[in-house]
């Protein structure tokens, strides 16, 4: 029986494209990027032709419909934002320019809002620096009142429409690049002529790396940055705090990473599932959507618990999955010479 199992395992390993790679591609990546493109197209439609109102609020620049579409698009991005390989490796920068340590988004947008010369054309907007594009540029245009106050008349809604249109183009191209370009490369891992993944295990390892890097990013950046230190909490370093999405982004990223872990596993992984569930419960208890009160010891404590539970989920996933993924640290990447 044991021998038969080993033989079956060997046979399985010899197969080039593992079933779990196919599951990630077909059940998470392709539908996720298609959903993102559709949501961004909806946002672009809602933002087109919006005009400024004398009183900022519901009627401004397309009003509530634009804000709802913005949130729907950001939600869709959170379903795939951890997949930073293939075309996403370079595309992610201009879709979600964060962290933005130097306030580059505000600076680029302030320049565009104040300039006397015409705004770029829709196609020409792709040449604008990444900080002035994507979800965080939209967030600034929709939720940063100080930025709005610096805009030349009529300029802000036009720029919002332009950024939304550019994001729709970007996400449509990204979905197509995944579907037509990178998905076939992942699915043909180990087959003759595939120069990106010489074995099926390399493709599996690349996807597993997205899981570990994604958990690390949520723990260290999305939670760690606003936490700062006890003496110096940094609420304005939270992700998407202006639109009140900081906690929501943590929860959505954990859900997407949990789904990825399950898709990568050949068999049930109850320990990992339980650890992700515990992290989700901890997120539900934070009760501070934009991390505004990270200086409050009670909120701080709840975020520390969440951070700890994400670390535990990463450890369980490594135990359940890491051993089978053949991951070794980069021989050259770690060399530094």
């Amino acid at each position: 029986m044991r021998l038969a199992l080993i033989a079956a395992a060997a046979l399985f390993l010899a197969q080039p494209a593992a079933a779990d790679v196919r599951a990630v591609v077909e059940e998470q990546a392709l539908p996720g990027f298609a959903r993102l493109a559709a949501a961004a197209a909806g946002l672009a439609a809602a933002a087109a032709g919006g005009t400024e109102s004398a009183e900022p609020g519901a009627a401004d620049c397309g009003g509530a419909a634009v804000r709802d579409a913005f949130h729907a698009t950001f939600d869709a991005w959170m379903g795939v934002s951890h997949l930073r390989l293939g075309p996403s490796e370079t595309a992610a920068l201009s879709i979600a320019f964060w962290p933005d340590e130097r306030g580059a988004t505000q600076r680029v947008l302030a320049g565009l809002l104040a300039e006397a010369e015409p705004l770029p054309t829709p196609a020409g907007y792709a040449e604008v620096s990444a900080a002035g594009r994507g979800l965080f540029a939209l967030e600034a245009l929709l939720y940063d009142d100080a930025l709005a106050a610096r805009a030349a008349p009529g300029r802000r809604c036009a720029l919002l429409a332009l950024v939304a249109d550019d994001l729709a183009r970007q996400t449509a191209a990204l979905a197509a690049d995944w579907r037509d370009g990178f998905a076939p490369i992942l699915l043909s891992a180990g087959e003759a002529g595939n120069a990106v993944f010489l074995t099926g295990d390399e493709a599996l390892g690349a996807l597993y790396t997205q899981l570990t890097a994604g958990l690390e990013f949520t723990r260290d950046q999305r939670i760690g940055r606003p936490l700062g230190s006890f003496d110096r909490p940094r609420p304005q370093r939270a992700e998407a705090w202006r639109s009140g999405r900081s906690l929501r982004n943590v929860a959505l990223s954990l859900a997407a990473l949990h789904a990825l872990a399950d898709l990568l596993a050949d068999e049930p992984i109850p320990a990992t599932d339980a650890a992700f569930a515990a992290a989700r419960d901890a997120a539900d208890r934070v009760g501070d959507p934009a991390f505004r009160s990270v200086g409050d010891p009670a909120v701080r404590f709840r975020l520390e618990v969440l951070r700890q539970r994400i670390a535990t989920a990463a450890a369980r996933a490594a135990e359940d999955l890491g051993g089978t993924m053949g991951i070794s640290p980069g021989f050259n990447a770690l060399d530094g010479d």
Partner: protein, 357 residues
């Protein structure tokens, strides 16, 4: 001392008889250092089909190498801080000579044979101060150290021969390191440069990057037949800035020039380029980033031409119309234009560099 030299000469005579050529070593086209699955280190010869032509064990992790133009001898340099360079007979696998830096010195991983293989130049630094030196050795006289010359900067790394067959181009990385480990000590005040040096009379020209880019350590070089030195850099400044990692310099040709790299491509290299090569025709230059798992190609004017993603990719050398790429996963990949095809896959981790013979 004479006894040792005589002994080494004898070894040399026995193991690499003057009549032997690279064909006797299995006709390798490249040499590269590697780590095997057991954790041991080796120097390998690679044939054009990607097969291993020979494999010679190394006492510690290697870095780069230099090949003798005529005889089947390779000089392998230890990883920084290096305390050995081995002259390896690639036919028998025997170590023909073992070079050690003088007291207080460290080898810095690179070197080059000059004067038709008669002399070896080694990149070195003073262990205590990181002041850079080029060591000079006679291949004809039992690999005796014959002298040294200042490299013109701190922490030199790569050294290459210019097309005039005499002048050396040196990448002075500018980074002072701890004598015992590789800790970086002077990142706030580092000043890398690209230096041109006559091996007998010293520095003939030095070019420094723009002051704003002084934290961009110049580390690896590839020389175009027209004398343009392309260099690959490692950024030690604010990671959010992602400056270009490829530049060009000409001896006495004024300011260093940077490549034009799209913003997202710059970020994808993670501030680190590990190797650089021109293609055989000199129409394209490529830099690799093992941290970004990425290779970027540029035309000779420094305009971005395309990129290819491959985990832990680092070694690069001219191959066909394009390049041969090696990685820590044992892959050898051929890049031609926008295309890529696997050449071979070994159960080895290929180390930083591929040296074309």
């Amino acid at each position: 001392m004479t006894d040792r030299r005589t002994f080494l000469k004898g070894l040399l005579a026995a193991s690499a008889a003057p009549g032997l050529s690279w064909a006797d070593a299995g006709g390798p086209a490249f040499i590269a250092c590697a780590q095997d699955p057991g954790g041991g280190f080796a120097l390998a010869g690679l044939a054009l089909d990607g097969a291993t032509a020979f494999r010679v064990p190394l006492p510690a992790r290697g870095h780069a190498g230099a090949a003798h133009p005529g005889r089947p001898l390779a000089i392998v340099f230890a990883r920084r801080p290096g305390y050995y360079a081995l002259v390896v007979d690639c036919v028998s696998g025997a170590v023909a000579a073992r070079l050690a830096p003088p007291p207080g010195r460290q080898f810095n991983g690179h070197g080059v044979l000059i004067d038709g293989g008669a002399r070896l130049v080694t990149s070195e630094q003073d262990a205590a101060t990181s002041q850079g030196w080029l060591g000079l050795w006679s291949a004809r006289d039992g690999w005796r150290r014959t002298g040294e010359i200042a490299s013109g900067g701190i922490g030199p790394h790569d050294v290459r021969l210019m097309p005039d067959g005499r002048t050396l181009a040196v990448a002075n990385g500018g980074i002072a390191t701890d004598a015992a480990d590789r800790r970086k000590l002077n990142l706030d005040v580092m000043r890398p440069n690209l230096a041109w040096i006559d091996p007998d009379s010293g520095v003939t020209a030095i070019a420094e990057p723009d002051p704003a880019l002084r934290q961009n350590s110049i580390r690896h070089l590839a020389v175009h037949p027209d004398g343009t030195v392309a260099f690959a850099m490692q950024w030690e400044g604010d990671p959010a800035l992602s400056p270009p990692l490829l530049g060009f310099g000409r001896q006495g040709g004024g300011a260093l020039r940077l490549a034009a790299v799209p913003e997202a491509e710059r970020a994808a290299m993670k501030g680190y380029a590990g190797s650089i090569a021109w293609n055989a025709a000199g129409t394209e230059v490529a830099i690799t980033s093992p941290r970004g798992g990425r290779v970027q190609r540029f035309d000779a004017a420094g305009r971005f031409a395309g990129s290819f993603a491959r985990a832990d990719a680092c070694g690069i050398a001219p191959f066909g119309a394009g390049f041969l790429l090696s990685d820590g996963g044992g892959g050898l990949i051929v890049l031609e234009g926008d295309g890529a095809r696997p050449l071979s896959h070994a159960d080895l981790a290929w180390d930083n560099h591929i040296v074309a013979l």
